[in-house]
Amino acid sequence: MGFFEKLKEGLQKTRKGITERIDKVLVSFGKIDEDLFEELEEILITSDIGLETTTRIIEDIKAKVKENKITDPTAIKGLLKEELMKLTEGESSLKLDTTPSVIVIIGVNGVGKTTSIGKIANLLKNQGKKVVLAAADTFRAAAIDQLEIWAKRADVELIKHSEGSDPAAVIFDAIQSAKAKKADVLICDTAGRLHTKKNLMEELKKVFRIIDRELPGASRENLLVLDATTGQNALSQAKTFGEVVDLSGIVLTKLDGTAKGGIVIAVKSELNVPIKLVGVGEGMDDLQNFNSKEFVEALFD
């Protein structure tokens, strides 16, 4: 099964959710009026797209309806699709030009950081890149062991210290190792942390300082991992992590459930952080570059 099929399958529930309801609404309305828009608004909000973004989408559609003198409710679907595509568009490939380049994976607890790293390592390895992993989640029990297993699966090197050690020190060692071995990409795992914990965010700053100092000018991808089941709090996560470091992209995980993942649309639209990678399963290959056209197509089929 190709990735597109997987994404489609993963989004099946989403599609059923959004499109079926939209179709129903559009058919049931004879004309375009306020009530129709209110229904649409509700549907978008319940896909975790969020109030602000939903309002923006609705306003845009309203403007277009007026401008083009559209009277047929079923034409709204095309407009909505256009709108969503426009909102999620962006550069999704990872920028890894220097040797070494650095990818830092951050996010709250339980979103799937370590698993995503395993998959990204595999992805890059298959592209013929030499990858080094840094096990800088020294806090969670057995996080290092977990990454080690992924490193073995992807057949890449892992730099680790013992549990409870300073994550910045792990990063430092990993950078030296990556330099010495002329690795193409260094991927850094970090401990999950709620963005509201000030001291943990400070710890993260230290990690970034080390990278800035030791690898000035290196290509950097600071990727925030978001769980597709997350609701509006993802915005707060993206905002707060964005204050600590320049986020270069989002990794959206667990899209194979019934979660609608609409929150990425909100994150992209409100904070302009592009979605770069999407995870749709537990397998090693179930992570791919985000494609806005495919994403919206899969939603609407």
């Binding site: 339980g110 979103v111 609701g231 509006q232 993802a234 019934t258 609608k260």
Partner: protein, 446 residues
């Protein structure tokens, strides 16, 4: 703070309505829209919101509200009451088997926090006299078994594990036999995270259930979950029959609407709330308090309880006497700091006070490190110095600074602050002699 601002928004709506004489049905409708949007923004499921709004507006268009002089507050009161109603009126506890061992099975999506919660729950119930055994049934996620073992080690609670090639049903069964032999009266089974639509893995849970007949199945739900929370809770409940819910990661800034959603669709009580990364940070879930927090009314009850836990009543009376007679010394001050520390992170404590919203608190630097410094400084003083700080001269200051790893400036700051506090105490106790009340603007010198 969860749903902060809803109360404020309603007040705004009311303000706009002022001067119209009375509240009309249309006004109520507008208020309902505010409530609806606030709840949706808080990730409460839209079906749940709809039902909720219907209930509230039915009551709100009633005579009491329309004719009330404070319709806004009336509406808030109704919302508050209905929220409590929706979340379950009373706190629910876990139950124990009459014929031990009691078996709990932890289930949920990936990353919701099952393993950590298993450890926390074992720790909490051990304090209540149980002898728990943790069982590692997550054979899928790399190093999940190891994670539970490390948690068990940290807590000094035994963990039953087999290798990751073994069928989880077999592991669970063997664990029960083992527990009986070793006289464990409580078994907590940690299962692998799975999607509720994964038939095969859901079947596995059903088989574990059939084999070990758990006393309670606890669904672990991430409080940051969005609209999907209903689907998850519904499926797990349908396929397994859930007995209770544990809400995790409530220490973040999530509005936690998922709590309302899962309770409403399953009808099952939320029994615990995970409040932090430490293995001690699992608390009973109090629906009424959560409702107050949702409305930004502060969680006064929790705070009072925390304070009671931490403060020694005798010491408090003694302290009051000392303050009145102006014998408050640095020694007493040290005592105070230590008691304050027992209450938990200051941010958390203040967050529970009404009128404090968490966002505002984020700006305020509550530097707990400074508290540690103050403690170190006082501890580096001799007993005489603590009782009579006026004897602290330059040479003593140098010694204290060296001993506490601080600077002389730090010590000066502390002494100055302490003097100011004493002065304030003095004026306060004089005031209260004259019949004044309260400590007024009480400022600690750190």
């Amino acid at each position: 703070m969860v749903f902060e601002g809803l109360a404020g928004k309603l007040q705004d709506t009311i303000k706009r309505l002022r001067g119209q004489g009375r509240v009309t049905e249309k006004d109520v409708k507008e208020m309902m829209r505010e409530i609806k949007l606030a709840l949706l923004e808080a990730d409460v499921n839209f079906k749940v919101v709809k039902d909720f709004i219907n209930k509230v507006s039915e009551r709100a268009v009633g005579k009491d509200v329309m004719e009330s002089l404070t319709p806004g507050q009336q509406v808030i009161k109704i919302v508050h009451e209905e929220l409590i109603e929706l979340m379950g009126k009373t706190q629910s506890k876990v139950s124990f088997a009459s014929n031990p061992p009691t078996i709990y099975m932890m289930v949920g999506l990936q990353g919701s926090g099952k393993t950590t919660t298993s450890g926390k729950l074992a720790n909490l119930l051990r304090k209540q006299g149980k002898n728990p055994l943790l069982v590692a049934c997550d054979v899928y996620r790399p190093a999940a078994i190891k994670q539970l073992q490390v948690v068990g080690e940290q807590l000094n609670i035994p963990v039953f594990a087999m290798d990751d090639k073994t069928d989880p049903v077999v592991i669970a069964k063997n664990a029960v036999d083992y527990a009986k032999k070793k006289l464990h009266d409580l078994i907590i089974i940690d299962t692998a995270g799975r999607l509720h639509i994964n038939e095969e893995l859901m079947e596995e849970l059903a088989n574990i259930k059939k084999t070990v007949k758990p006393h309670e199945i606890l669904l672990v739900v991430d409080s940051m979950t969005g609209q999907d929370a209903v689907n998850v809770a519904e499926s797990f409940n349908e396929k397994l029959g859930v007995d209770g819910i544990v809400l995790t990661k409530l220490d973040g800034d999530t509005r936690g609407g998922a709590a309302l959603s899962v309770k409403a669709v399953t009808g099952k009580p939320i029994k615990f709330a995970g409040m932090g990364e430490k293995l001690s940070e699992l608390e009973p879930f109090y629906p009424d308090r959560m409702a107050s927090r949702i409305l930004g009314m502060g969680d006064v009850l929790s705070l009072i309880e925390k304070a009671q836990e931490a403060f020694d009543e005798k010491k408090a009376i003694e302290l009051e006497k000392k303050i009145r007679s102006m014998q408050f010394t640095l020694e007493d001050y040290l005592d105070q700091i230590q008691q304050l520390k027992k209450m938990g992170p200051l941010n958390q404590v203040l967050g529970m006070l009404p009128g404090f919203d968490k966002k505002a608190l984020q700006g305020v630097e509550l530097d707990e490190k400074q508290m540690v410094h103050v403690e170190a400084i006082i501890k580096s003083m001799t007993k005489r110095e603590r009782i009579n700080p006026s004897i602290i001269d330059a040479s003593r200051k140098r010694r204290i600074a060296a001993g506490s790893g601080t600077t002389i400036q730090d010590i000066n700051k502390l002494l100055k602050g302490f003097e100011e506090m004493k002065k304030m105490f003095k004026s306060v106790s004089e005031m209260s002699k004259k019949g004044g009340k309260g400590l007024g603007k009480f400022k600690m010198p750190f």
